[in-house]
Structures are given as structure tokens and as C-alpha cells.
């Protein structure tokens, strides 16, 4: 037994030492190094609520961008301008207006396309036919124009291009430049009826152009047709890209409309409301001073709304409006009065950022809502 115990011991020592030496550290897995990605949290208010003024305009109390001529409202526009597509780059006036506009005309001739189908093959077939007819149509254009104008009010898309075009005629060239850029996306999905209506509006300046370039247009048109087809199908906005790339025409400018006289503004005003944290801080100050009589029935259904005017120091100006809703009458009154007391006790309100005082959403008028869970009971 001793010999076998010795043998076993020796064997184990050998195996263990081998394991310790050769099985030291398993190769660690390959991990691709990941660079830390810096993330900034940018409140959207800083973009959507910023009041932009005009740099060269005289100072006034409230900043306002230059009045826009195009008053058609574009949703979610952030940058002031006459454009129909909201672009961030500032408007650039066209440098060479006349000839370049003629060159830029071909895209508009695209309208006579009869079928809005997505397939390119069909479009190719049709394109040559149209081009053949084109010159005739163009020559005849002035005559059909009055005939077709009556139906114009019916189709929806019509009002969009028309005012723009009219302005273009009236205003000196640099201003007329944004017209092509203004041509919006709605074009591709337009029904066939809409096309004749648009023609007269847009082809007025094109009449010459159409005559001048009878053959070249064929290829141009094909490209344009392809573009239109592709823009129908995907989110990719070819028009927007085109307007941004186009250096010949006036491009850029936002689509946010302004009706006010341009002014530079007295101080930097960002119409940003208080953040949730700041509102919470104010609520906390009021809650700290809250003493509500215990044992009120139906407190759980009461909601309180406070509307209070404040001065820059956080003092209450005038009489705050405290409205309680829901719950029994007595409870509501008790909650209202305790809220008012708490509000006066906690004045002046602290921790309010001075830069957010001004503006529509600023805390010059503070509106707070309390629900039962927030009453300091």
C-alpha cells in the first residue's frame, strides 16, 4: 500500500505541475476594441424654440427674422426663409440669372408625362413621343393657357407653385431664383389631372427654353423621369439634394415663415421652457412649505394648477391663480388655500435660470400642475 500511495502521490504531483505550467492561462477571447462614443444630449428646444433675428436689422425688444414673402406654412420648419424645403444653409442669390435658368428649365417639361408609373421602361418608351410633340405644344402654349386656368383651383398641388411663380415674375431676378428650388416633392405622386394645371403656371418662363432645346431634352427628360421615379419610391429626397448642390440658382433658406418686421433683437432670447428638473425643483420648493389638513376626503381626486407671474428675482407679481379641480367641494377649497399659502411661503422661488426668464415659454409666467401624489401630505 505504501508503494502505491507513493506512486499515486508522484503521479499527482507530476500531473498537477504539468497542469500548472502548461495550462497556465487560457488565451483570452479576441475582443475588437470599441472606441468610446461621445454622446451629447441636446434638447430639441434649442433648435425649435430659438428666436432668430436679422443681423443687420435695427435692435428691438423682440428678435424677428426678415419677413418672408412666401407665407405658405411648411410644417416643422426650423429655419426662416422663403423656401419650400427647409434647408439649413442660408439663401444664396443666383449669380447668373437668365441663361442658367433657361438651362435649368428641362426638368419642368417633365410634367406632360402621362403615366406616373414607377417602371423606367415604360417611361423611356413614352419619353421620345412627348419630345416629338413637345415643340408643337410649346408653340401653342399661350393659347391653351387661359383655357386650362379655370380648372386650376380644383387640384390641391396647384396653389403651391403658383404664388411662387407670380412672385418670380414680379420680383427682380435674384429673388426669383429660388423658384426651382421651391418645387416640392408632391410632384411625383400627382394625379394626371394636375399636370395640365401646372403647365401654364410653370411653362411661362419656359416657352423659350422649350423651343431652344428640342433634342437635348430627350436625354434630360429620361434622367429626370428616372429621378422622379426613384424619389417616389424611397425617402431619399432628390429635390433637396439637388437644391443644395445647385450653385447656379439661388438655393438654401429655410421654410419657416415670418410675418414680422426684421429686427435684430435686444438680447439673446431662447424661448426655451424650464426643463423637467427645474420644474421639479420649483415644485419641491413649494412642496416643502405645504401643510395640508389631514383627513380630507377625496384628496386623491384633486388636481391643482398654479399660474403665477414672477419677476426676475423669483418674487410673485400680482395674485397667483390657483385652481383645484376634482374631488369634493370642501376638499378642493382646502387644497386651494393651502396651495396658495405654500406658494407665498416659498417666494421668492430659487434655482430658476435667469436666461430662461424671457420668452413665451420662459418663467415670467410659471404654470405648475400638481397631482395628489405630489401634495406634501
Amino acid at each position: 500500500m505504501k508503494t502505491s500511495l507513493g506512486t499515486s502521490l508522484v503521479m499527482h504531483t507530476l500531473v498537477l505541475s504539468w497542469a500548472l505550467l502548461s495550462l497556465s492561462a487560457p488565451a483570452s477571447f479576441e475582443v475588437a476594441p470599441v472606441d468610446a462614443l461621445p454622446v451629447d444630449i441636446v434638447p430639441v428646444e434649442s433648435i425649435t424654440q430659438t428666436q432668430k433675428g436679422e443681423q443687420n436689422a435695427p435692435k428691438t425688444e423682440k428678435p424677428a427674422p426678415k419677413e418672408t414673402k412666401n407665407q405658405k406654412v411648411v410644417e416643422n420648419a426650423e429655419n426662416a426663409g422663403d423656401n419650400d424645403i427647409d434647408l439649413k444653409n442660408p439663401p444664396t442669390p443666383a449669380k447668373r440669372p437668365v441663361e442658367t435658368e433657361v438651362a435649368a428649365a428641362p426638368p419642368k417639361v417633365e410634367k406632360p408625362l402621362p403615366n406616373p408609373t414607377n417602371e423606367n421602361n415604360q417611361v423611356k418608351d413614352i419619353a421620345p413621343e412627348e419630345t416629338v410633340e413637345k415643340p408643337q405644344e410649346v408653340a401653342a402654349l399661350p393659347q391653351p393657357k387661359p383655357e386650362i386656368t379655370p380648372p386650376t383651383p380644383k387640384p390641391e398641388p396647384q396653389p403651391e407653385p403658383k404664388p411662387v411663380e407670380k412672385q418670380a415674375e414680379e420680383i427682380p431676378l435674384p429673388d426669383a431664383a429660388p423658384i426651382p428650388a421651391a418645387r416640392p416633392k408632391p410632384e411625383p405622386p400627382k394625379p394626371q389631372e394636375a399636370k395640365p394645371a401646372e403647365k401654364p403656371a410653370e411653362q411661362k418662363p419656359d416657352a423659350k427654353a422649350a423651343e431652344k432645346t428640342p433634342d437635348k431634352k430627350v436625354s434630360d427628360k429620361k434622367q429626370e423621369v428616372a429621378k422622379a421615379a426613384s424619389s417616389q419610391q424611397s425617402d431619399f429626397n432628390a429635390d433637396e439634394i439637388a437644391t443644395m448642390l445647385n450653385k447656379q440658382e439661388a438655393a438654401g433658406g429655410g421654410a419657416k415663415r415670418s410675418t414680422e418686421v426684421a429686427s435684430r433683437g435686444d438680447k439673446k432670447t431662447i424661448g426655451v421652457g424650464l426643463s423637467a428638473t427645474e420644474i421639479d425643483s420649483v415644485k419641491g420648493q413649494i412642496q416643502g412649505n405645504w401643510s395640508l389638513v389631514a383627513g380630507l376626503t377625496g384628496v386623491q381626486e384633486v388636481r391643482v394648477r398654479i399660474r403665477v407671474e414672477l419677476d426676475q428675482a423669483g418674487n410673485i407679481v400680482g395674485q397667483p391663480e390657483v385652481t383645484a379641480t376634482g374631488g369634493p367641494e370642501g376638499t378642493r377649497r382646502a387644497v386651494e388655500s393651502s396651495t396658495r399659502r405654500a406658494l407665498f411661503k416659498s417666494a421668492p422661488l430659487k434655482n430658476l435660470p435667469p436666461e430662461k426668464y424671457e420668452g413665451e415659454k420662459g418663467w415670467n409666467v410659471l404654470v405648475l400642475n400638481f397631482d395628489p401624489s405630489e401634495f406634501a401630505l
Binding site: 502505491s4 500511495l5 506512486t7 503521479m11 499527482h12 497542469a19 500548472l20 492561462a25
Partner: protein, 239 residues
């Protein structure tokens, strides 16, 4: 910085550092299991040699026994030696036979019974030596994994406490403690698996040897019984 830390953490997952990082209880468990493994293999080697030797001796003895040699002579050569197995049974039976005849046994049945008893006792003693220490193999085989699991559970508990203290759930923090704890189970299995296999094998071998001894005892008892009859017949006739 972080990469360096991770690399350092990864390199410290070697077996030795795992062992050294472990807590006291886990260390004790691991050492105990390694000891159990050593003991298991000691028994395995011992039993292997014992059984091989026993088998050889059985074969040799049977060869000599059935070779037609005089049993008296065989007894005389074997009596002085330290015998085991079949030889021990033979010697025990022969000794009883001799004693009985030297003092003049009267009843053949009583003699037969005494010889059988003597052989039974020897068989029991021999098979006891063959099966000695096999129960400890069985114990290691069944308890080893549990002991290892105990070490693992304790190790994981302590490492979770440590993780809670470090306030980080980074894998580099979590993994070493768990790997270290799992090492205890690994050692338990390493000790237990050979123990179970060896136990089954050696129990079978011991059963074979004891059945062989019983078979020999029966045969020898038959031979002796014939001898008794032959030797007692003339005496009874003389009386």
C-alpha cells in the same frame, strides 16, 4: 488603462492563481479533494497489483494442485510460508485434517464440518483483504462531486459578496471568482470519476476471486471427504 486592466485580469486566470485567490474554505475543499484523488489512485494501483498477483497465484496454485503432486508434500512446502488465496484455504483445510487425524477423529461428519468451517473462515478472511479499501473508493466516488459542489457554492457566495462590494458587474470582475469557485467542482469530478470506475471494476474482480475460492473450497472439500471415507473405513473395519 482599461485594456491593461482587462489583460491583467485575464492573465490571472491561471490554475495556480485561481487556487491562490480562493478563500480558505474553498482552498481546504480543493486540498481535501486532491488528497482524495491521491488516495483513490493509491488504492487503484494497490488493488490492481494485488488482484494481478492474486490471479497469478491462483493460477500457479491450481496448476500445482492438479498436477498430481502429493497433497502432503504440497502442504509441507506451503505450511511454512505466508499464504494467501487458494493456498491459504488449502493450508487451513490441511491443518484441520492433520490435527483431527493426529488426535484420532471419530466422526467423519464432524471432521468434514470442521474442515468446511475452517475453509469458510479462510475464504471470508481472504475476500475481506481483497475488498479492503474498496468502500473508500465508493465514498470518494459518490461524495467527491458534492464536496466539490460545496466548495463551488461557497466560492460563488464569497465572490458574489465581493462583487457586491466592488459595485461593478464588469465581466472581468465577475469571471475570476466564478472560475475559481468552479475549480473546486472540477477537482471533485477529477477525483470522483476514477474512483467510481475503479470501484466498479475492483468489486467485480473481488467477486470473481471469491467465487473462484469458493469453487476451489468445494472441490477440495469433496476430495477431503472422499479421503476421510477411505481412511476411516479401515479403522471402522478393524474395530
Amino acid at each position: 488603462m482599461e485594456h491593461a486592466d482587462l489583460a491583467a485580469a485575464a492573465s490571472s486566470v491561471s490554475l495556480w492563481s485561481l487556487f491562490m485567490q480562493a478563500g480558505l474554505i474553498v482552498k481546504l475543499v480543493m486540498i481535501g479533494l486532491i488528497g482524495a484523488s491521491v488516495w483513490t489512485w493509491a488504492i487503484v494501483i494497490d488493488k490492481y497489483m494485488t488482484f494481478a498477483k492474486a490471479k497469478r497465484q491462483f493460477d500457479q496454485f491450481e496448476q500445482v494442485f492438479w498436477s498430481g503432486q502429493s497433497l502432503e508434500e504440497l502442504y509441507r512446502t506451503l505450511a511454512e510460508r505466508q499464504n494467501s488465496g487458494l493456498a491459504a484455504i488449502f493450508v487451513a483445510a490441511m491443518r484441520e485434517w492433520k490435527k483431527s487425524f493426529e488426535r484420532g477423529a471419530r466422526s467423519p461428519i464432524g471432521l468434514q464440518m470442521r474442515i468446511d468451517r475452517a475453509m469458510d473462515v479462510t475464504i471470508a478472511r481472504e475476500s475481506e483483504t481483497y475488498e479492503a479499501r474498496l468502500p473508500s473508493l465508493a465514498t470518494i466516488g459518490s461524495a467527491g462531486p458534492f464536496i466539490g459542489l460545496f466548495g463551488t457554492v461557497v466560492g460563488i457566495m464569497t465572490s458574489f459578496q465581493a462583487i457586491a462590494g466592488s459595485k461593478s458587474t464588469n465581466l472581468a470582475v465577475v469571471a475570476p471568482g466564478i472560475a475559481e469557485a468552479l475549480l473546486a467542482t472540477a477537482i471533485g469530478l477529477v477525483a470522483a470519476i476514477p474512483a467510481v470506475m475503479a470501484y466498479n471494476k475492483f468489486m467485480g474482480d473481488a467477486g470473481k476471486l471469491s467465487s473462484r475460492m469458493e469453487g476451489f473450497a468445494d472441490e477440495f472439500s469433496a476430495i477431503l471427504s472422499r479421503q476421510i471415507d477411505e481412511k476411516l473405513q479401515p479403522r471402522q473395519a478393524a474395530q
